[in-house]
């Protein structure tokens, strides 16, 4: 140790922050085209770049029963053939202007997005128009993308993290709830999808009045507006009906289940229950409550499981924010022999959160983090465009981002306690662990105070 004596003099004392500089979320403008299509534009001229996200109200929640996965399949097929060009030709068009297009659907919406140098924006938008307005869904590509989804599901059986997520969702919701199945569908539903299903879903959902074009970057509202009129002005079609309800009904009781993976060196743990919808009135209280519980590196759960016990590389909690009530989940991966001990610590932390107010110090750590990090989140055109798309998806007010920081700062320790008591439900916790049942099943049952159900890969696809 002598080789490395600390230098003298001692380090300077910890510096105080300077005066903060003001920041506002990029200004944006909205316009509705005569056909009902929305345009949202944020001019940001730092670099010659623009991000486009076309948001369509065509997510998995809008699927007809029995067609689970058709929303994702439809979105992914858009770039595989449109306006007389096949998938190879379309890919080539995008790549020659220096970009690639992403088309996917999540629970709430479908989105077609790309980032491009500004000089190529008109060409890129014209291609986006082709994808949205004139997709062809070639049979061969329908078959290929179905096979790729089936391959992905097969892969998941050997991938503990994805398997744990998927099995947790199944255990969380009632079998008839759409949220119980993966957004992209499971093997049975995907195998049954046809080109007609895709065409029908497209015809029903992809309409101008259900579409918002978000552009953030080196462009003015006037330029974007002219392009939108030119490319989308004569797109016709009535507004589709609102998406179906009853997608998020949860299970009313506790469950402890091990999904068997013999000889697993680690257990993938998921503990939680159905959370709350994005538009919940106490969203900010719930978000800050989660930050303290398990949302930050310096949260209670991570400091407990990782830094105090060394059980894991990381442990986090979170609400998944959807239009309906998405999962609330604590996730971690721990060495097999400490699985029950780690689960016990998680249950303790959830109880503690509901039992007593957090310290002022814990509150300010979470709120000053969320407040301070806000500008850092919006450095890129793609992050700004995604934030604007989020406004559209959840119908948040236009001043949402301007007021975000003051609303975070307004959260109190009492508000956090109220959110914990309202939205954490120890009596409904579903504990799902992918791991070695020989080591973990029995001790886990003791911790949970109930018998552990063990499912094997042959049976594990059954909904709860």
């Amino acid at each position: 140790m002598s080789a490395s004596a600390s230098p003298t003099p001692a380090p300077a004392p910890r510096p105080e922050p300077a005066a903060p500089r003001s920041y506002h979320f990029p200004r944006f403008e909205r316009r509705t085209l005569p056909n009902g299509m929305q345009l949202v534009v944020a001019p940001v001229d730092k670099l010659p770049l623009a991000t486009v996200i076309a948001v369509v109200d065509a997510g998995a929640s809008a699927e007809p029963a029995g067609k689970e996965g058709v929303a994702a399949l439809t979105a992914r097929l858009l770039p595989e053939g449109a306006a007389g060009l096949d998938g190879v030709a379309l890919t080539d068009r995008f790549e020659r202007i220096g970009t690639t297009v992403e088309a996917h659907a999540d629970w709430d919406v479908a989105a077609v997005s790309l980032t491009v140098l500004t000089k190529q924006l008109p060409d890129a938008l014209a291609l986006v128009r082709d994808l949205l307005r004139a997709p062809e869904f070639p049979d061969r590509e329908v078959g290929r993308l179905k096979e790729e989804r089936l391959a992905e599901l097969l892969q998941q059986r050997a991938e503990p993290r994805g398997l744990a997520d998927e099995q947790f969702s199944r255990a969380l919701y009632q079998p008839a709830a759409r949220y119980a199945l993966p957004a992209d569908g499971d093997a049975a539903s995907v195998r049954g999808l046809t080109r007609d299903d895709v065409r029908d879903f497209y015809s029903a959902r992809y309409r101008p009045a259900a579409t918002t074009l978000v552009i953030a970057g080196d462009v003015t509202m006037a330029q974007a507006s002219a392009l939108a009129d030119d490319l989308f002005g004569n797109w016709t079609g009535a507004r589709p009906p609102a998406a179906a309800q009853g997608i998020d009904a949860g299970q009313p009781d506790r469950l402890t289940r091990v999904v068997a993976k013999a000889d697993a060196p680690q257990s993938e743990i998921r503990i939680g229950h159905v959370g709350l919808p994005r538009r919940a009135p106490d969203y900010f209280d719930a978000m800050v409550m989660n930050a303290v519980l398990g949302g930050l590196f310096s949260s209670r759960i991570n400091l407990n499981l990782r830094e105090a016990h060394g059980y894991t590389y990381g442990a986090f909690s979170g609400f998944e924010w959807r239009r309906g009530a998405g999962p609330f989940v604590v996730s971690t991966a721990v060495k097999s022999d400490v699985t029950a001990a780690a689960a016990q610590e998680i249950l303790n932390e959830i109880d503690r959160m509901r039992r007593e107010e957090i310290a002022e110090d814990e509150l300010t750590l979470a709120t000053s983090y969320l407040d301070g990090v806000f500008p850092i989140r919006y450095e890129t055109t793609s992050a700004i465009a995604a934030a604007l798309a989020n406004l559209v998806i959840h119908e948040l007010p236009d001043d949402y981002y301007d007021r975000y920081r003051e609303r975070v700062r307004a959260v109190t320790t009492q508000g956090v306690l109220r959110a914990a008591q309202a939205h954490l439900h120890p009596d409904r916790l579903r504990i799902v662990v992918v791991g070695d049942p020989a080591i973990i099943a029995e001790p886990l049952g003791k911790v949970a105070g109930m018998t552990t159900e063990v499912v094997t890969p042959d049976r594990m696809e059954k909904p709860a």
Partner: protein
């Protein structure tokens, strides 16, 4: 488009790069230490990375867990990472918190050891062993990034051994190792500090001098052994791993020119033609046309010494046999080796790369990291402004020189993962049975 760069060096050898951008009130601080797993001694694989974890455990004036907490309370983001030939530490903070970030970095560069305890080491050893389980041992194909360098570099080469380390070597790490490694490598003359974003240059300079100035220069680090290797493997290499996976996957590595060399840019373009995005040859042929693969891509490791690796990474579809997968990949490489590439293909990927280069300059953190990288590897942060030009001047002729020299079968190291149980390929009926409720 150029990013502004100003540099200076402290008397203790710390190289400092400033790059101003006042579009948002935030600033990135980024520190590269020129040490990675390549510098580890025998019996201590994984130590550089374990040591990185210890740098978040406090220092003389910073309590355990306080490093993360102080940055997060200030509204900042932070992390660190370890690679074969470097270790970096970085935070982005609101611009009025710049001095806090510099103070934290200076504290652990100068005054780390008083905070090191056996208990902290034991806990972080557990954390790292869990990181190994999480990222490699309990993850399909997870061991590839340990096995591929082991296959592609000779046994005594500094890039041969595991970056995450063996469990036994991690168990053997001691506080003495910490002290020795710290004294040898965590010195100002073995580091580059970059500040990018919204700051006043005079203020930033005086902060750097105030907090880092007292830290003494190091005594010099032991040189790495000769890292040069022949341009090709001299014959095909092949390793088959039966693992807990559902689908076969082939990682095929080629020795390729070191990062930063003229030849590197030609190799990078060749790799992009093979496996960048959906217009690439591998995606088009194997995923789209033949439908033998579910995914196909290619990328470089970007190593600046010895030899870089160009990796082709292809996952089979369920009905594709292992033999068919390998044949199909080799056939595409053979075709490129025999016929070369066209200017049209070069132009497609250079256009794509240009957009990515511009987009990557948007975040202060990425700008800072690139500046530190070019200064660490080549002593010249200005290289960040030349990347576009270096790609734009790549011609099909230069790509084809690389292709002729390096794409032959004598330069292919195949790491092939196959499902462990019974028949290599799960059949369609297995899939149906398993997924039916």
């Amino acid at each position: 488009m150029r990013i502004p760069i100003e540099t200076f060096t402290l008397p203790n050898g710390l190289r400092v790069i400033l790059s101003e951008d006042h579009t948002a009130p935030l600033v990135a601080v980024n520190l590269w230490y020129h040490v990675g797993s390549a510098n580890e001694r025998r019996g201590r694989t994984g130590f550089a990375h374990l040591f990185e974890h210890m740098l978040f455990q406090g220092s003389a004036n910073v309590a355990a867990n306080e490093h993360f907490e102080l940055v997060q309370r200030a509204g900042g983001t932070l992390n660190g990472s370890t690679w074969l030939d470097r270790t970096n530490y970085f935070e982005t903070v609101p611009s009025n918190q710049l001095e806090l970030a510099l103070w934290l970095e200076a504290n652990r560069m100068g005054w780390l050891l008083p905070a090191m305890t056996q208990q902290k080491l034991d806990t972080q050893r557990d954390v790292v062993q869990n990181e190994r389980r999480w990222s490699m041992d309990n993850q399909p194909y997870g061991t590839w990034w340990e096995r591929l360098p082991a296959l592609a570099y000779p046994i005594d080469h500094p890039f041969h051994h595991s970056l995450i380390g063996s469990m036994a070597d991690l168990d053997a790490a001691s506080l003495d190792d910490i002290a020795h490694f710290f004294a040898t490598y965590y010195t100002p003359d073995n580091a580059v500090l970059t500040i990018a974003g919204d700051f006043d240059r005079d203020e930033a300079r005086s902060m750097v001098e105030r907090h880092f100035g007292a830290i003494p220069r190091g005594a010099g680090k032991p040189p790495l052994p000769d890292m040069s290797v022949p341009p090709t493997f001299g014959g095909p290499l092949r390793e088959v791993v039966a693992d807990d996976v559902m689908l076969p996957r082939l990682f095929l590595a080629l020795r390729s020119p070191v990062f930063g060399s003229d030849e590197y840019y030609a190799a990078s373009v060749a790799g992009a033609i093979l496996g960048m995005k959906k217009g690439s040859r591998l995606y088009r042929a194997l995923v789209r046309e033949q439908q033998v693969a579910a995914e196909a891509q290619a990328y470089t490791y970007d190593l600046a010494k010895g030899s870089d690796l160009l990796v082709v990474d292809v996952t089979a579809r369920p009905e594709t046999s292992v033999e068919r997968l390998e044949e199909a990949v080799h056939a595409e490489l053979d075709r490129m080796a025999a016929d070369g590439v066209t200017s049209d293909e070069v132009s497609r990927v250079v256009t794509l790369i240009e957009t990515e280069l511009v987009a990557s300059l948007q975040s202060a953190s990425e700008r800072a990291d690139k500046l530190s990288m070019f200064a660490t590897y080549f002593g010249d942060p200005e290289l960040v402004n030349q990347q576009g030009d270096r790609y734009r001047t790549v011609t099909a002729e230069r790509v084809n020189l690389f292709v002729r020299e390096r794409l032959g079968r004598e330069n292919r190291a195949s790491l092939l993962y196959v499902p462990r149980d019974g028949d290599a390929e799960p059949t369609q009926s297995d899939l149906a049975m398993a997924e039916t409720p």
